[in-house]
């Protein structure tokens, strides 16, 4: 029903589809001169009799991987620094007296490596025997069972009996309390230190570390402390054994019972690639999916653990308000109620308002905009502060509202200025990239806005538009650094466009970027990036789901809330007829006269556009509960009842319509850069549009106060509520308090 559309412009209609599909399956992404990898000498070596060429400076284990000889490992991980302490990756190198640890050994030209000789086997068996000597035999009750590296590798290198008969038994280690997300069972730890390296390098939690040496080595937070990081769930994935497991998922399912569905996350605007694991009609857990262009291998804790919100507070049947109560109704009755409400409200033209919320998918946005326009209204508003007026940055030029540098491009920047944003909470995975770059290159970061605990150091320039004016004028140390940078990057938070000083800030930045276009806007680099924080926003801008100035001035009489749960109840006129379409009974539903139950993101195969403008296709994992339906189908059905049916009956024709609006909406998994001329034109119109804007000097505020609860799904989630108590409110919640219990806490 859906196919990859060629990245070339309009293809010949006679061309066979299969050819188009095949010739364009390689995701090209953005590739410029500057983003091509640095020229490195390649070296050639022989692995298991097979010649392989790898870049100089690679580890031997990478060369073995490249040659197709898998090497068992516990401590080595592609995205972490090399530790070399598990010794499982021993290989034999010719003319080397001993087996060598292939992760800590650089690949040498001309080396002859053997990964599958009796010597190697014996060495690995020895390592495995020592690891298992202290590893408890609790696989049947261990949550890692079935996806455990130690289990997998012991199938090949493990012995079937033990030679160690210690009188004292196996090593016993006290369990640590890392908070409501990560469960520990430290007896199982094999001290690979992946979690420590992840916390150090990626998450920026420098308290997680090791104490003691040898047999007494322990992983922990040194003092009794939880691991307060928005990326902490990733250490569960990294742990090769069952020492760190997921607390909400504990004892709920086994991996072989789960159906995996590869999909897209919508709880922030990064569009992290996820894998939804479901059993029956329930989502059991959410795992990251590796995509180096978006989320590498990490996802935030909200993405990972908010899934239990999908079970609670769901709208399962259409509801019609009678008096002050909601009464469940059939779809037919609900639509009839809407039609009569539309008639009795007397709404005409722009008095019919549609408001798109945070979790609205692109298909339903397109359908709703077409529907509203057919009713003669241009009043398509967005669910944000100031969303009822046309947006400051405009929607005519893509580069004015997208993250133009792209997410992997952040790593190329040498100076970053953050304006009114805290990426740690608005795009947690992107923040880890900034930290990575800050650690490994000489990246300098500046921040204008409310002070925040980012995971990297920054120069604080001020909290309001005046600080930005100073920066633009070139005052201060950081402005000089910025002027000297080769690839400077300005990240403008989405909260700026909602702020009173938004126009002034955009005006100053547009002029500044235009003035410095030789470094900020070049064919290889666009250093003006807007960081959106909600999943639907980029798509809404892309299809022009914004009101006209004339429409914005009209007082609405009929309001259609599409997943809009952040609306200010005071902004809705008392006499207006309100329809809410969405999946959770949250704020929007409480304001409505008619509620239409829709599908959540795990229940529909829809298109999502992330903050870079990368279009990605999600996939339904479980059916929507009760009578709820896919969003665009509801709008389509309603349009028919109202009497102006939309011209698409299936998702293929709807995506056709999306192609008409913007071809990027059906070109999946790629970002399309805006050309320099167009980007500069966009900035010029932006500067002209906002000319003469007054500066009020109100400080910028962080838009996300509580990272863990930002949308109806995470607000309905018990896990996220616990996390909020533990990390945001700082209560000692979720601690086992074992010192108070009468018995020792086992397992």
């Amino acid at each position: 029903m859906l196919r990859l559309v060629s990245t070339a412009s309009r293809p010949a209609s006679s061309g066979r589809l299969s050819r188009v599909v095949c010739s364009n399956c390689v995701s090209t992404g953005r590739r410029t001169f500057a983003s091509s990898s640095a020229l490195r000498a390649d070296i050639t070596l022989t692995v298991d009799g097979k010649e392989v060429t790898v870049p100089q400076g690679s580890a031997l284990i990478q060369a073995c991987e490249a040659a197709g000889s898998p090497v068992p490992r516990f401590c080595y991980h592609d995205r972490l620094a090399i530790a070399g302490n598990c010794r499982m990756c021993l290989v034999e190198v010719e003319r080397s007296p001993k087996p060598v640890a292939s992760c800590a050994m650089p690949a040498m030209p001309g080396a002859k490596v053997f990964t599958n000789t009796p010597l190697v086997h014996e060495a690995r068996e020895g390592v495995m025997e020592f690891l298992l000597a202290n590893h408890p035999l609790d696989c049947p009750i261990c949550d890692q069972g079935g996806e455990c590296d130690l289990q997998d590798q012991s199938m090949r290198y493990g012995s079937d009996r033990s030679r160690f008969h210690e009188i004292t038994g196996k090593r016993a280690v006290e369990d640590k309390d890392l908070g409501p997300l990560v469960k520990t069972s430290m007896n199982r730890c094999i001290q690979c230190t992946r979690c420590v390296r992840f916390a150090n390098e990626v998450a920026g939690v420098e308290e997680l570390g090791t104490t003691g040496r040898g047999n007494d080595l322990q992983i922990g937070m040194y003092v009794e402390k939880t691991m307060d990081s928005e990326l902490s769930g990733n250490i569960v994935d990294l742990c090769p054994v069952g020492a760190l497991t997921s607390k909400p998922y504990a004892f709920h399912a086994r991996p072989w019972e789960l159906k995996n569905t590869e999909s897209i996350d919508v709880l922030d605007a990064v569009g992290s690639n996820i894998r939804v694991d479901s059993r029956g009609v329930q989502v059991m857990r959410i795992q990251p999916r590796t995509n180096d262009d978006v989320n590498e291998e990490w996802i935030s804790d909200k993405t990972r653990y908010a899934y239990d919100g999908l079970k609670f507070q769901r709208l399962t049947t259409p509801l019609v308000k009678q008096g002050d109560r909601f009464v469940s109704a059939s779809w037919h009755d609900a639509f009839t109620a809407i039609v009569s409400g539309l008639a009795s409200s007397g709404a005409k033209g722009d008095e019919i308002q549609a408001i798109a919320g945070h979790l609205a998918d692109t298909e339903s946005l397109v359908a709703l905009k077409d529907f509203t326009n057919r009713l003669g209204s241009d009043n398509t508003a967005l669910d944000q502060a100031g969303g009822y007026a046309p947006p400051v940055a405009g929607v005519d030029v893509r580069s004015n509202y997208l993250f133009n540098s792209t997410i992997p491009g952040v790593e190329q920047a040498d100076v970053i200025l953050l304006v009114g944003t805290n990426p740690r909470h608005e795009a947690a995975v992107l923040n880890s990239r900034i930290r990575k770059s800050w650690l490994h290159t000489g990246l300098e970061v500046g921040l204008i806005g409310e002070r925040a605990d980012t995971t990297y150091g920054y120069d604080y320039l001020g909290q309001d538009a005046k600080a930005l004016a100073d920066f633009v004028a070139g005052k201060g140390e950081f402005a000089k650094k910025f002027q000297a940078a080769k690839k400077p990057l300005i990240i403008v938070g989405s909260a700026i466009s909602e702020h009173a000083d938004g126009p002034a800030v955009y005006n100053a930045l547009a002029k500044f970027v235009e003035k410095n276009k030789s470094r900020l806007v070049t064919p290889e680099w666009n250093g003006f990036s807007v960081l959106q924080r909600v999943a639907s926003r980029a798509a809404a801008y892309e299809i022009g789901f914004v009101p006209t100035k004339k429409a914005a001035a009209v007082k609405p009489k009929f309001i259609y809330l599409l997943n809009a749960d952040e609306v200010d109840p005071k902004s809705i006129p008392k006499d207006a007829f309100v329809v809410y379409q969405g999946h959770h009974g949250d704020l929007g539903a409480s304001l409505a006269d008619v509620c239409l139950p829709a599908a959540a993101y795990t229940e529909k195969s829809t298109t999502w556009v992330n903050t870079e403008g990368r279009t990605q296709l999600g996939r339904a994992a479980v059916p929507p509960p009760g009578a709820s339906r896919e969003d665009w189908k509801i709008v389509r059905a309603l349009s028919e009842v109202v009497g102006s049916p939309l011209p698409y009956d299936d998702v293929v024709t709807l995506r056709d319509r999306m192609w008409e609006i913007s071809p990027t909406l059906v070109r999946y998994d790629t970002t399309e850069p805006t050309s320099v001329d167009v980007a500069l034109t966009g900035l010029k119109t932006l500067a002209a549009h906002t000319a003469g804007a007054k500066v009020t000097g109100v400080p910028f505020k962080k838009p996300v106060a509580n990272f863990y609860q930002t949308d109806p799904i995470s607000r309905a989630s018990v896990t996220m509520a616990q996390t909020t108590r533990a990390f945001v409110n700082g209560e000692r919640y979720g601690f086992s308090e074992s010192e108070k219990s009468s018995q020792a806490a086992f397992a």
Partner: protein, 169 residues
Amino acid sequence: MSLIRASTQAFRQTIDLRTAVRALSSEVKAPVESRTETAEVAIPTKDVLTAEVLSGAPTELRHRPVRIYQPARNTMQSGGAKMERWRIDFDILQGGGRWENPLMGWASSADYMQGTRVSFKSKEDAIHFAEKQGWDYYVQPPPTKKIPPKNYAENYVYKPNKLRIARTK
């Protein structure tokens, strides 16, 4: 007219052709699926005779969208076995996919393809098979992997400025 539209029309044409074939003769041979080890498996250049002409598979099956993709590695495990394979599986049926059976609380389904997934050695094989079955398919391109060369010595590289990380390993 976009490509998607073009493709649906192309499909309609093949359906017409198929009915014609069914009416006329049985001499048209279905192309034999070549299962060579190399990646260059021939993409069918002519219209394929879809399977349900002969197999008697229900016509509803023809309208089921399938996805062709390379399953991502489980991030919980480091092994890379079966990662080279391409998989076909079915989008769930809206409404009839699965529901909780009130008798035992297990999941029931009206969708006989919900548990089916087929693995192929190459993408071309999978596409060929989907075309032969007359399924609507979407090919999800695998993400490109970008792992930089890694080096143990990087742990000990001298950094000239203020130290930015305190390693606790």
